[in-house]
Symmetry: C2
Subunit: 113 residues, 2 copies
Amino acid sequence: MIEPEKLSEHVERLNAELRRGLIVLVVMSQLEEKQYGYSLLKQLEEKSFSITQDTLYPMMRRLENQGYLQSDWQLDDNRPRRYYQLNEFGQAVLDALRKDWKTQLRIIEEIVR
Amino acid sequence: MIEPEKLSEHVERLNAELRRGLIVLVVMSQLEEKQYGYSLLKQLEEKSFSITQDTLYPMMRRLENQGYLQSDWQLDDNRPRRYYQLNEFGQAVLDALRKDWKTQLRIIEEIVR
DNA sequence: AACAATACTGTATGATATACAGTATAATAA
DNA sequence: TTATTATACTGTATATCATACAGTATTGTT
């Protein structure tokens, strides 16, 4: 039996776990439009969705490996940036996922109250 | 680069991942009232939230280890059943988690559209 | 008598968010 | 000029946990 430490630590850990799977949905939905990692990072920050480099960069690489994203290097302002965007397959996956999510959400909201 | 197989397989995997962290919230919210594993399983099934024994039983054990639940064996109808319920700490954690979740949800809904 | 439903236990595995460690340039402040 | 912060990545390690797998035993039901 683990000793109950500070409440907030527990809540934070559970909250992080809770956001876990949602992050993909959030990120994919933002990649309907072309973005590079850092710009997406700032954009989500702006929208009050906290995410770090440690989470975002590996996730984008993974989403590309899984075949949802297409990426290319672009040189703007003399700076190389790796731009990502959903490809056709990724867009189809996102559309379906979004639909499932909305159904799930109704069920969960009913249960959690 | 992984070959894009059937769309539905991808969507299902992502959807499962999406539900991942939410399950704790769902289960804890049901354990404000005393329940044994199998009854909770059937109750959630009834409410269209699909979850299997493989997920539920280990989770309840874990939530008890983490100090959120209290459990005891009861003999009803001559059958031994292990009843679980949130303890005081678990209730406090749930209350805070629920609150955070509602905030998170508003943000996510705004982003995902 | 056979089978499904009920009601658990214990341990293994795989996916992945996050952590850690590092590189390099541009902009800004001291 | 120099230091610091912001920008913008890369690669690999770790910890958590949903799910899988394997098993036990009793109570209906057909």
